[in-house]
Assembly symmetry: C2
Homo-oligomer: 322 residues x 2
Amino acid sequence: MQVATTIYAPIEERLARVEHSLKAMPEIRSDFLAKLLSHVFDTVGKRTRPALTLLSSSFHDHDHRVTEIMATAVEALHIASLVHDDTVDSSSVRRGRATLNSLWGRNAAVLAGDYIFAKSATYVCDTGDIRVIRRFSETIMELSTGELQEMSEAYNGAQTMEQYLERIYNKTASLFTTACQSGAILSGAPEKQVAALKEYGYNLGMAFQIMDDILDFEASEEDVGKPVGNDLSHGTITLPVIIALRQQSEANPILALFDSPEDASSLSLAVEFILGSSAIEESYAVASDYCRAARRQLDALPDTPARASLEELVAYVNAMRA
Amino acid sequence: MQVATTIYAPIEERLARVEHSLKAMPEIRSDFLAKLLSHVFDTVGKRTRPALTLLSSSFHDHDHRVTEIMATAVEALHIASLVHDDTVDSSSVRRGRATLNSLWGRNAAVLAGDYIFAKSATYVCDTGDIRVIRRFSETIMELSTGELQEMSEAYNGAQTMEQYLERIYNKTASLFTTACQSGAILSGAPEKQVAALKEYGYNLGMAFQIMDDILDFEASEEDVGKPVGNDLSHGTITLPVIIALRQQSEANPILALFDSPEDASSLSLAVEFILGSSAIEESYAVASDYCRAARRQLDALPDTPARASLEELVAYVNAMRA
């Protein structure tokens, strides 16, 4: 599913400048590093996060260069985290392109990811705003904490909804929050609007990750490039799994899968069990609650094309089903 | 060889507070991450880099908390880079302790390193000085660039002295420079002294890395915990190697080693060749030049116990031989 182009209409030119800055990142002395960076920055993403920064900055007149730098940093940080995630997961393909780790090895991918993290932080320094710089570093901490939690909590059928929500905040909603909050701060928005856009980003990010976790069960490999139940097969316990485990504590096919994760038929039995239960619909209801909460925050903002785009983004996330 | 305790005398109490802050870093919500961090921060290092920050800050009255935060960040950054280096090199022991990657796997080590990088950056934000924050992020970029250069330039016998010097600046002297420069800036030193301490750190760092590269040939496994010629056996071309390659371009045992790196006798032949040449003494002369340049910068500073310690550190590096 593609983001409707109308959503980005109010920031089209600005997003093009951000895209240009991203493409310019590999212009550095080291040939080897330049080659690695070119490969990563040539990949075309949905650019959701920098769009959030630019849209959130659109409610006040300000020096656009500052928020475009911020949007560039936000996307670079996202890309750095994808490079390390793909390395940790030994993924070979991302958005139809071979990953860094598959082409140049894990070691080069670890170091190139480090470089992009640091480069994104130097970009944020150019905004000159210490509050934003600090929040950005905290976001990098939260991203790595989320990935570590996913690793340490894998195959643990006893984990709680609270653990899941904390993990997806760290993994996903943290950067959505930072993208919106920093755009608002750097545009000179009053604190009430900064708080509303921060809450909007938080709720949109939580909804986005829950929908993504639902798609792991609902979407075919053709839709999302990953086999059905891919997260579950790696022991990652998402919201549908937590709900389905709660519904049947004995002889649950999910626990049987965790006992013999190598067995392909265990995976399909567990997926069938989840799809046959009410877990997907209940998960969707939780995601929709977050979407509504995101939508409500927009009432604090004037009715502009940027606000309409932020509303459309909520609708997009709420409809992210296969 | 241990750093003489007299060198740290002027900053003993302050360094103890930095040590305390480092030990407190694992106090966080995630149990798994806390376990990883405790393991890393319990290791006792020489604390050369935070000592440089504190000594460099000692020439002007200022709020000591700010420079202690900076010293903590500098050491945390060093530790983060060691975690990733050990992961990339698949090292199993560091300073007599098992590495994170050997105990909890490479993936956990990559993510824990990311967390520590980001945590060190949030510390620097607490200094409130954007110039220092920016320089710190650039240092992370330089550290990862240096490691990538080491990787891409391995086994390349045609590399130049210039490439070597750029690489050891990135790998080592960059952080020495930042440690000294940030201590000076945050103590409120005038720009002339900031420049002198920055140059001091740069030259000391270059000398330190060259001496370390000489020790790869001169020191026994008992001295440094690594077999003789360890860097060379991984194709890392250091100053003694570049000089020895220049002295004999045909039938050079180093090139024979690069042709068959798995052959143990090739390694000992190459090491013997280097030790039998003038390459070690010539490398030592280059390191001593950097030491003298570092020493000269101290003339710009008043004659205090801190300056005496910085002088002693130069003497220590200049005498870092097996």
